[in-house]
């Protein structure tokens, strides 16, 4: 993976997820950060920190990004969500517009 094609998402605990930029852009919020001209530091460094999203949730969200890309390419599987994560996941999804 070339560096400019990936982004680093950092959880509240400081855990880093390096994922394809294409996957991250499933989130409208991240897409805006990465594409708005110059205004966000995130655009330059390809790093986004989420001080309010825990590692568990951010991991799940990254999984969703890739699941969503698969879905779009025609592979319609079920996305599993653990009941105990649902509420927290919703709050993150709300923030990330995804």
């Amino acid at each position: 993976m070339k560096k400019e094609e990936t982004v680093k998402l950092i959880s509240a605990e400081g855990f880093e997820f390096v994922i394809d930029k294409k996957a991250a852009m499933v989130s409208q919020t991240i897409r805006n950060m990465l594409t708005s001209p110059g205004s966000f530091a995130e655009t330059q460094h390809g790093e986004v920190t989420f001080p309010e999203i825990s590692t568990t949730i951010l991991e799940k969200i990254c999984q969703y990004f890739y699941w969503s890309l698969q879905f779009a390419s025609g592979k319609e599987t079920e996305f599993h969500i653990e009941p105990e994560l649902t509420l927290e996941l919703m709050m993150a999804a709300n923030y990330l517009h995804t």
């Binding site: 969503s68 879905f71 319609e76 969500i81 009941p83 105990e84 649902t86 919703m90 999804a93 709300n94």
Partner: protein, 580 residues
């Protein structure tokens, strides 16, 4: 449907299309409470639907919650309001909201509670509903069993703007007392609340911000309009089918100078009552259908310069006094159906060049009268059913190039007149339900490729004529019940893939082969092949018609049991089935 003879469709009053103000997602319609919703596509169809848009993570989570039941979640009040609102709406849509799950929404600061027609809504639910307190803006509990005591808690929600209590038959004047302090209300609806009386309407007197008030079918409100006198912000008042409003009541409306829409159909108002409207210069819509008014009411109406929609259907108009129509130059929609008027009245419509829709159903109109319509170049819809119009009248239509809808059922027109219609290339909807129309008439119309609705119910079309359907590829509805079609003719319908409604009843030669021919018309929502030789064995061909909601196979060799089986195993959307 499926009657042996031709029939006439009841044209729903125009006003419905003008604007439906309240959420019409749910409507209680007698037998099937959920008809309203099931007819509109579910908001969150996903995965199972296949080939759908990728569901958002939010949608997935909400679906998850709905599937698991919300037993795990004691309260959603920790969530931001917009999320709990989404969960709530989804649960309602899926009919998953129960006494227990509702409890999780206590104090969630929800803004909208739309439970219109929702099964099981009772007084017990009002506690949670009203716990939303000052956040709550809109409540719809139409069709519920809510009683007066259920309304007591509404006082806790001072910011309510929109209340819909349609078809709540148990609410009476005592219940109304609880809304009299809700002065932020802008919309209020109590359709068909027969226990509400004129005295009870005093509860409305202080709702000074009210813009829309709907008391349709409230039969007991005679004498109550006096309490609306101070509601000068009122723009829309619906008193349709109350059947009790008199001229004396009308007096109370004379000061409501902001009124734009007044629905007064099926009441006891006469010309004198209409007289009280003379100062309402903003009035743009007036519906007096079925009231005993005559053309004398035009004295008042001609002074209302904004009037654009006027419904005088089924009134007591005659030609006398109709010259006053000439002054209503802003009229766009005019309904004069079922009045005792003749060509002598039509003369006065000549200058109403803004007219887009004109209904002359069952009036004594002849060909000469239609000459006066030739200059109404904006006309899009013309209803001439049951008039004495014949072929020579249709000649006057050549200038009406914007006509989209025309109804010539039960007129004197024959095949010879179709040539004149063939030039109206904007036509989308054409009703030729009359015995004189045959294959050759249809042939003359093949240039009307934009047609989406074609009614040939009683026309004598044979298999030969069905060859012309290939020119009408855009048809969404087709009625062909003249009795002259066989399986060979139905084959020619195969290509009309946009059809959502198809009526082939009364063609007694049709067999299971016909069902096979239409098995590819997967857009069909309504199908009628009654009075034919269709059998149980043919039902298999209907299995691909997944969108079917109404299926009528009366007087065929079809058993209710097999139909039921078909419904359960293949056609989940099917709601109306005959025979049952």
């Amino acid at each position: 449907m499926g009657g042996a003879c031709s029939r006439k469709r009841d044209h729903q009053v125009i006003e419905d299309s003008v604007r439906s103000r309240f959420s019409a997602r749910f409507s209680k319609s007698g037998s099937s409470r959920w008809l309203g919703t099931s007819f509109s596509p579910r908001s969150g169809v996903y995965i199972q639907g296949g080939r759908g848009k990728c569901p958002s993570l939010m949608e997935l989570c909400i679906h998850k919650i709905c599937e698991q039941g919300i037993g795990n979640y004691h309260s959603f009040s920790v969530l931001p309001r917009d999320i709990s609102q989404q969960i709530f709406n989804e649960l309602v849509d899926r009919q998953c909201l129960t006494d227990a799950s509702l409890e999780a929404f206590r104090d969630c600061a929800l803004q909208d509670i739309y439970l219109g027609g929702y099964p099981g809504t009772t007084d017990g639910w009002m506690g949670v509903i009203c716990s939303q307190g000052s956040s709550l803006l809109s409540v719809d509990i139409s069709g519920s069993d809510i009683t007066d005591s259920g309304l007591v808690l509404l006082k806790d929600c001072p910011n309510l703007q929109n209340l819909i209590f349609d078809y709540c038959g148990r609410i009476s004047d005592r219940g109304l007392e609880n809304i009299q302090g809700l002065s932020n209300l802008t919309s209020l609806s109590f359709k068909k609340s027969s226990k509400i009386t004129g005295q009870g309407m005093i509860a409305f007197a202080n709702l000074v911000n009210l813009v829309n008030l709907d008391l349709e079918r409230c039969g007991g409100i005679h004498g109550g309009l006096i309490h609306l006198k101070g509601l000068t912000k009122l723009e829309s008042l619906n008193l349709r089918c109350c059947n009790c409003i008199t001229d004396a009541d009308m007096k109370s409306l004379s000061g409501l100078a902001n009124l734009k829409e007044l629905q007064m159909s099926s009441n006891k108002v006469t010309d004198a009552g209409v007289g009280y409207l003379e100062g309402l210069h903003k009035l743009s819509l007036l519906n007096m259908e079925g009231c005993p008014v005559t053309a004398a009411c035009l004295d008042t109406l001609s002074g209302l310069v904004e009037l654009s929609h006027l419904n005088l259907n089924r009134c007591e108009l005659s030609d006398v006094g109709c010259e006053k129509f000439a002054g209503l130059v802003k009229l766009k929609i005019l309904n004069l159906g079922f009045n005792n008027i003749t060509d002598a009245c039509i003369v006065h419509l000549k200058g109403l060049t803004n007219l887009e829709s004109l209904n002359l159903d069952s009036c004594k109109i002849r060909d000469e009268g239609l000459a006066n319509l030739a200059g109404l170049l904006n006309l899009k819809s013309l209803e001439l059913s049951d008039t004495e119009v014949g072929n020579s009248g249709l000649r006057h239509f050549s200038s009406l190039v914007n006509l989209e809808t025309i109804n010539l059922s039960f007129t004197l027109v024959t095949d010879g007149g179709m040539r004149n219609l063939s030039r109206l290339t904007s036509l989308k909807s054409l009703n030729l339900d009359t015995r004189q129309i045959t294959d050759s008439g249809l042939e003359a119309l093949t240039g009307l490729s934009g047609l989406t609705h074609l009614d040939l119910f009683g026309a004598r079309i044979t298999d030969l004529g069905t060859n012309y359907f290939r020119y009408f590829k855009n048809l969404r509805s087709l009625e062909l019940c003249g009795g002259g079609i066989t399986d060979a003719g139905v084959k020619n319908i195969k290509g009309l893939v946009s059809l959502t409604l198809l009526n082939l009843s009364q063609n007694c030669h049709l067999t299971d082969k016909s069902l096979e021919s239409i098995s590819g018309l997967t857009a069909l929502v309504s199908l009628n092949v009654s009075n034919s030789r269709v059998t149980d064995a043919g039902l298999v061909h209907l299995r691909p018609l997944k969108n079917l909601r109404s299926l009528s196979l009366e007087s065929c060799k079809v058993t209710a049991g097999e139909l039921r089986k078909l419904q359960l195993t293949a056609l989940p959307n099917l709601m109306f089935v005959r025979p049952e």
